[in-house]
């Protein structure tokens, strides 16, 4: 009958309406994801630049190099993290996490690396998140880096610490190298207890292996300096085992 026909028509058109809404929802979501991915890539590439800048520290340029690194980091925060924050405004942060986690992890790596070089301490998640607060539009819930991304970023930090330690030893900064060694060990040990509680522990396990390798490389470097230093004590008659590794005086070269 025509009554039935009408019902069918209605349900048909209501189906179309509904799918029109679903289509719009999916389009918006995908577009947003795409913009977040791009913002995340920008954060990554610029955080890497900060890390390279930190690696430029030497015994004599420490202050200026780290100052520039901090300035660069601040501009990553202000320019690129803020764009990420803006893109994510009003979104469920967890829904698009896979789209921005690489950038955030690299950012954590850069920020904690800077801080450690400057002060020898670990930049806490709360401290990082505090710097992100002002970037958010107050009318939305602010984007805060989650524990998982922070921990994953920290796991990568050890690789940079290893590079830093090798370089510092070359320039004779033994105490700094030992400090790095202790710091890297501490992070490794603390993370050991966290691994099984991570949401997805499989990639964290790989990172733990890499981390242990980095820690071992630092330890081997410290070992090498130590045995050499011990050999030199009787030769130099000095008990200051680090003196032999001081920077070469300019006039000697």
């Amino acid at each position: 009958g025509s009554a039935k026909r009408a019902r069918t028509m209605t349900s048909e058109s209501s189906m179309k309406d509904a799918f029109g809404r679903y289509a719009e929802y999916l389009n918006d979501l995908n577009d947003k994801r795409e913009r977040v991915v791009k913002a995340s890539r920008d954060v990554t590439i610029n955080s890497k630049k900060v890390i390279f800048q930190v690696h430029r520290v030497g015994k004599h340029n420490r202050e200026e190099v780290l100052e520039k690194a901090e300035k660069d980091l601040a501009s990553v925060t202000g320019q690129y993290m803020s764009r990420l924050v803006r893109e994510l405004q009003g979104t469920d942060f967890w829904k698009l996490r896979r789209a921005y986690t690489p950038g955030v992890q690299e950012y954590v790596e850069a920020a904690t690396f800077c801080k450690f070089c400057k002060t020898g301490t670990l930049l806490n998640l709360d401290e990082i998140n505090a710097t992100l607060l002002p970037l958010s539009d107050p009318s939305f819930e602010p984007l805060q880096i989650n524990v998982l991304d922070y921990i994953l970023g920290l796991a990568d930090l050890t690789g940079e610490l290893m590079r830093l330690a090798i370089g510092r030893i070359s320039e004779g900064e033994l105490e700094f190298a030992e400090k790095i060694c202790r710091f890297a060990r501490d992070i490794y040990r603390e993370l050991t207890l966290l691994v099984p509680h991570m949401d997805d522990s499989s990639d964290m396990k790989t990172k733990m292996d890499t981390m242990l390798q980095s820690v071992i490389k630092i330890e081997n470097a410290c070992f090498s300096v130590h045995v050499r230093g011990s050999e030199y004590i009787p030769l130099t008659g000095s008990i200051d085992s680090s003196s032999f590794l001081l920077d070469m005086p300019d006039n000697e070269l």
């Binding site: 679903y22 289509a23 389009n27 469920d92 967890w94 670990l122 603390e190 949401d199």
Partner: protein, 229 residues
């Protein structure tokens, strides 16, 4: 000290999240087991014409599901804004739930279960705990996968009007899905499969039509040889 303190905090947080997950898992296992029961009831539609009693039995479980999703929502309420952190833990089961609800709905009404109707049935429309649209859509694809089998068995059982109804429904559903722009993801793959369901139903429809088997005709077994009719 500060370093240890922070990690100690993390450990506590992650452990809480782990125990949350355990609680989610417990509810999800109950959901899974409920859908298993519903599915077992619904399977009988493949063996005979669907009777109201059969549907009644399956529908009785919807209340259970609603209750379970309510519990899930309560669990999630503790961790505000982290719906999608744990989403993966109940995704697949929810897609199955949608497919069953939509199938039952169609059996009863002949029309598509809308997203809002599905939410309503599961008591999800309120608050922050809703039915993810992609899960809903995947659920519809799963339902579509059941239809060719349903049609084949109905015709075998002598219901010759079934193919026409299913074909109409599936044609519309497929047309509606074509409005979406999908990524190369799970939903896309499932939607690709719907084409084959549609084609199979169509084939059955023409098998029936070409042989002049009408809705109020006799069951196949009682007919003469098809060459003769």
């Amino acid at each position: 000290p500060s370093l240890e303190k922070q990690f100690e905090d993390f450990r506590v947080q992650l452990q809480e999240s782990g125990s949350l997950r355990e609680r989610i898992r417990a509810v999800v296992m109950e959901i899974e087991s409920t859908t298993r029961l519903m599915y077992a009831s619904l399977l009988l539609v493949h063996q005979s014409r669907p009777t109201p009693e059969l549907l009644e039995k399956a529908k009785a479980q919807i209340g259970v599901l609603k209750e379970l999703y309510n519990r899930l929502a309560e669990v999630l309420r503790e961790c505000d804004g982290q719906y999608y952190r744990y989403h993966g833990d109940w995704r697949s089961e929810t897609q199955t739930v949608v497919s069953l609800l939509a199938f039952m709905h169609w059996l009863e009404t002949g029309s598509l279960l809308m997203h809002s109707e599905a939410e309503e049935k599961l008591g999800l429309n309120n608050s922050g705990f809703g039915l993810d649209i992609e899960d809903y859509l995947v659920g519809l694809c799963f339902m579509s996968n059941e239809l060719p089998r349903y049609v084949v068995n109905q015709v075998t059982a002598g219901d010759y009007d079934c193919p026409r109804k299913v074909l109409k429904f599936l044609t519309d559903l497929h047309a509606a899905f074509r409005m979406l722009n999908l990524r190369n993801d799970f939903l896309r793959k499932k939607f690709d499969g719907m084409k084959y369901d549609l084609r199979r139903v169509e084939e059955v429809y023409y098998d029936v039509k070409i042989r002049g088997l009408t809705a109020n005709g006799d069951p196949i077994g009682e007919q003469g040889n098809h060459g003769e009719s």
